[in-house]
């Protein structure tokens, strides 16, 4: 796994007079479009506010230990504030509290942390997002049918929230049965694709069509992996499919009607607000403890609305 | 009742019957020679005694008690120690650690270094090597010295039975003499000693009694042995008689030498200098000529061959084969018509995990088939005919080389050179571990090769065979070629004097 560190420090006339803060922004990983959008948002905030943003992800994608090391290195190196998307709600408590103890304030983005010492928590409500996706799928199915859930990865809090939201939405529809919800896609698109293939194989009817009516995937890599399998088998579009997050591949599928809904977060805003909140705090202004960046549903119908378009193709870094 | 008694021992390896109901008895204060052809089962018998392998049938008694060692350390606990035919040392450990490996003096698992080194020094002094430093890594020692360490391992711990399996195959005359002293003193202090060798002179010099094995069975003697066990006093048998018992017929004309007419020069070495050895060696070799190289262990004969062949880096000098300069690695040497036999067949000579045919044909696969493809049938047929003409004891050329006895492995390695039909043969100790009969076979092959116009460079530590087989003999001393004379002008004493620089 990996991430680029880059510095964005532009002196804008607006920002003269404010002290130039050094703010570390730490994503969970970097190979998803999602993090690129967060990076873009963080940079925009940096240039608007005239602060320096240092972008650095864990060396090993999705590795908690590796993310702890990144935070420690920033503590040693000395920054004015840390904006972090914690890979784990508990494991990251110690290093983050250590940073806070050493006088470095921390803003949490994307996923929660079991602590209340941070400045603010800027994130999507993932449970709501999952539920949104589930309700959309239920509506597409008319409240009855058989569905499957391909989970993301063991121990990932934000996707678990989404999965939970989705399953709760299913429970509200007694006509819907969840055929499978214990298979994991794993960290990459390739593993997700294999998992999806094996998940669908026993669900194929002799005539090649599927014996299920709906599919939900809780993040980008599982959604892409599932999409590939459906495309391969010529089933794309023939089964209702709701995914999460956005990427060029998924947008194309949405346009072709192969995906019937994408739950979108607002990563650009997350990065932007994360840095902005931190700067406000550093300037001794008061900030909200919880900032919801919202979840929106994109469908083949509404995909061309400007505000949806903006979320589907967020500015990237 | 004899001290050590082996009754009805049998052992088969798959289809090979290595031992067939062998009886053997050795007493304390006795040095027993065990002789026989290659593959007759000598090593197998002694490996059973030392607990390395287990017999299919039969039993052993030691000092009047039932003796059935589970493993080598069990055997050592019972006082049975063995010097193995192939070196078995740990190169990364020191001399002292090797000598006491498995039975290190220790307290609560912590080595007692001083004790360890003192006792090692004692053992080495008894062998006549008080100056060998006990804290050197064994991997850094020359082969001959390693053999000493191996022997020290057997005599250092208090044991009652000592087995030597061809201990002198890489020792000089001088070292051999010292070893004999040790063997005699073991006998005099009441040990039972078994001594395996292909050198009947050695047997005659150091052994009291002799037992002959043939095809895994003991050849019955004249009934002079004790308690019905077959063993004859060495003095009561002539060499011819022993050989007759070994092979079932008498063997004569040990050193065949046809009338050879040397042709043009085919191998020319000028000022050849390696990293350490050799230094500034000049020599030239004609077709149809056999040039012997004598010298002490460590004099650099092996290094000379390796440098000529391109296995070791050459610092200065040049090698020409039929006038063409050799510039590269061994694969070029083969292409130029030069082949080499290594003295270390286990490490370097043979791919033990592969078959006889694979090993024999490896350098000349291009002769079978074309475009890089290999015609197996032709390849196998050729290998089979050579295996037969060399008298290799095997179930077929598809057998793994690791299953063969030491001597038969050596024959495979020699077969490879002859089969490839090279012009220049570099032979390093070609008869090491080979029985008397096969030796004369190999001499014949060398002779035949020379007659066909090939040139042979023959390195050996066994002077009689050099004197018997070669046209000219060169003596090597500290990496330099001291003097080259026709074989007829050399005597054993002359060679030794030249080699030691006396």
């Amino acid at each position: 796994g990996s991430s680029t560190e880059s510095k964005a420090s532009e002196e804008t006339p607006k920002a003269t007079g404010t002290p130039s803060f050094k703010i570390a922004v730490i994503p969970k990983g970097t190979t998803h479009e999602f993090w690129k959008a967060i990076h873009a948002g963080a940079k925009k905030a940096a240039s608007e506010l005239g602060v320096e943003v240092i972008w650095k992800g864990p060396v090993k994608e999705d590795d908690r230990e590796s993310q702890i090391a990144v935070i420690e290195d920033f503590i040693t190196r000395g920054v004015d504030g840390i904006v972090v998307a914690p890979l784990d709600s508990s494991a990251l408590v110690a290093p983050i509290e250590e940073a806070i103890g050493k006088g470095i304030p921390v803003v949490i983005i994307d996923s929660g942390l079991n602590s209340d010492k941070y400045v603010s928590f800027v994130a999507t409500d993932n449970y709501k997002g999952g539920k949104l996706g589930g309700e959309h799928l239920a509506k597409l199915l008319g409240g009855k049918g058989r569905v499957v859930l391909l989970r993301y990865q063991v121990g990932s809090a934000s996707t678990q929230e989404r999965e939970k939201g989705f399953l709760d939405a299913m429970k509200e529809n007694p006509g819907i049965t969840v055929v499978s919800d214990n298979q994991y896609g794993g960290a990459t698109t390739e593993t997700a694709q294999r998992a999806a293939e094996n998940l669908l194989a026993p669900l194929k009817k002799p005539d090649g069509t599927l014996s299920i009516d709906g599919i939900f995937c809780p993040n980008e890599s599982t959604t892409v992996g599932m999409l590939r399998v459906l495309q391969d088998a010529g089933l794309a579009g023939k089964v209702k499919f709701v995914g999460f997050d956005s990427s060029p591949t998924l947008i194309a599928a949405l346009e072709k009607g192969q995906i019937h809904g994408l739950v979108l977060q607002n990563p650009f805003n997350m990065g932007y607000l994360g840095v902005k909140t931190m700067v406000s705090h550093l300037k001794k202004e008061s900030v909200e403890k919880r900032i919801d960046t919202g979840a929106t549903l994109a469908t083949p119908e509404n995909r061309n609305n400007p505000e949806i378009r903006q979320l589907l193709e967020p500015p990237r870094e | 009742m004899p001290f050590l008694e082996m009754v009805g021992l049998s052992k088969s390896f798959g289809a090979t019957k290595a031992l067939d109901s062998v009886d053997l008895a050795v007493d304390t204060g006795e040095v027993r020679a065990l002789v026989g052809e290659n593959g007759s089962g000598k090593s197998t018998l002694m490996r059973i005694l030392a607990g390395v392998i287990h017999p299919d049938q039969g039993r052993m008694r030691l000092d009047g008690r039932e003796y059935a060692p589970h493993n080598p350390s069990d055997a050592r606990r019972h006082g049975v120690a063995m010097v193995h035919q192939e070196l078995s040392l740990c190169n990364h450990l020191s001399v002292a650690e090797n000598v006491f490996l498995g039975v290190e003096p220790s307290r609560l698992g912590v080595l007692e270094r001083n004790e360890l080194e003192r006792r090692t020094r004692d053992a080495l002094s008894r062998l006549g090597y008080p100056d060998l430093s006990v804290d050197l890594q064994v991997g850094k020692l020359p082969i001959a010295t390693r053999q000493i360490v191996e022997i020290a391992r057997a005599v250092a711990i208090g044991c009652r039975v000592v087995v030597f399996d061809e201990p002198t195959s890489s020792l000089t005359e001088e070292d051999t003499e010292r070893l004999f002293e040790v063997v005699r003193s073991l006998r005099n202090s009441g040990h039972a000693v078994v001594y395996i060798s292909h050198f009947l002179d050695e047997v005659r010099e150091v052994c009291d009694t002799v037992t002959v094995l043939r095809d895994g069975e003991v050849v019955p003697g004249d009934g002079a042995g004790r308690d019905g066990f077959s063993a004859d006093p060495v003095g009561s048998l002539s060499n011819e008689e022993i050989v007759r018992r070994m092979v079932g017929r008498s063997v004569d004309e040990l050193y065949p030498r046809s009338e050879r007419r040397p042709g043009e020069v085919v191998l020319e070495v000028r000022g050849l200098t390696g990293r350490q050895r050799p230094s500034a060696v000049d020599l030239s070799l004609r077709r149809g000529e056999v040039l012997g190289v004598a010298g002490l262990n460590g004099s650099g004969r092996t290094e000379l061959l390796r440098a000529i062949f391109g296995l070791d880096p050459v610092v200065r000098g040049e090698v020409r084969v039929a006038g063409i300069l050799r510039s590269g690695a061994p694969f070029e040497s083969w292409r130029m018509g030069m082949g080499m036999l290594s003295e270390d067949r286990k490490q370097e000579g043979l791919a033990l995990g592969l078959t006889i045919a694979d090993n024999m044909t490896l350098p000349c696969l291009h002769r079978f088939g074309r475009w890089g493809w290999v015609d197996h049938r032709a390849e196998e047929a050729t290998a089979r005919s050579w295996a037969e003409s060399l008298g290799i004891r095997c179930r077929g050329v598809g057998q793994k080389v690791s299953d063969l006895s030491g001597g038969n492995q050596q024959k495979v390695a020699i077969g490879r050179l002859l089969l490839h039909d090279v012009d220049v043969l570099l032979l390093d100790e070609p008869t090491r571990g080979i029985d008397v009969v096969s030796k004369s076979q190999i001499y014949q092959l060398i002779d035949r090769a020379a007659l066909q116009g090939k040139a042979v460079l023959f390195v050996s530590s066994y002077l009689p065979e050099l004197l018997g087989v070669c046209d000219r003999i060169a003596v090597m001393r500290r990496g330099r070629l001291a003097r080259t004379l026709p074989a007829s002008e050399w005597t054993q004493e002359g060679i030794m004097a030249e080699a030691t620089g006396a």
């Binding site: 214990n182 026993p202 391969d232 194309a252 | 490896l362 290999v374």
Partner: protein
Amino acid sequence: MRRSETWRGVLNTASLLAAWLVIFLVFSVLKPESFPSVRNLETILRQSTIVAMSALAMTYVIVSAGIDLSVGSIAACVSVVIAVLLKDGYGPWTAVAVGLACGAAIGLLNGVLIARLKVGPFIVTLGTYLIVRGVAKGLGQEQTVDPQRQVWLNDLLGSLGPEERWRIFPNGIWLLIALAVLAALTLRHTRFGRHVVAIGSNEQAARLCGVNVEATKVWIYTLSGLFAGLSGLMLFSRLRLGDPTAVVGMELEVIAGVVIGGASLSGGEGSVVGSIIGVLIMYTIRSGCAQYGLPNWVQEIVTGAIIVAAVALDRLRLRKTA
């Protein structure tokens, strides 16, 4: 090979095939409605192809007593190279050619370091494992690269539509089969193959016997890089995008497949066909467990246990016949 050995080889392959059949049958009984079908077999084959491709050349590497840890990184890197070139508008043939050339070049680098510098293959390829992964991420700008083009590469491993059923398998699998046959014949029946075996059995003896050990090793690792490149091509074809973080840990799967297939890591032994079956066994287990609905962690346990058991049984059988 000697006749006796050919027999042994055939027997070994037969017993491996039998093992695979048993596993397939077990899952067929557990999931009779979906598992025992040609389509499912095709699915398993398509999943195995990426790993199997590298396993072909890895057989050579392992038979020569070497190891190549960089194959996964090379595959990921080649998938990125192909995707980037396609995205930049190059034709698919150019993309594939350049991608495979990159793979072979990395293999060549491995080979030269191993043969010339005499550094052990484990360390050299551990180094390139890291380096090439880094390069892949750099090339892809730490992103998956989606060329968003409809090219024939995309269908190398796609499942066949009903009108194409006459082809039985997609082209990628046919390519694998053809290369496997070629690799198997080369190992057994050419000088190069015999030299590989000799080096693995006793490198010093091979050198003494006039085998050009260095050149042969360079070839072996170059081949390994090239075939890892083919794995990368297959990976691209499956994902239709270049993914610098894909197939992490693939090298261990490749090695496991080769070893289940009868190769010994100390060299001198191994067969190409065995390796393919070894990979197939692993993927059949995985697919079977998943389709039977076992949780992922049970799948891992079962796969691990079967790997150990397969090799242990093999050793026991050999010891009996020896």
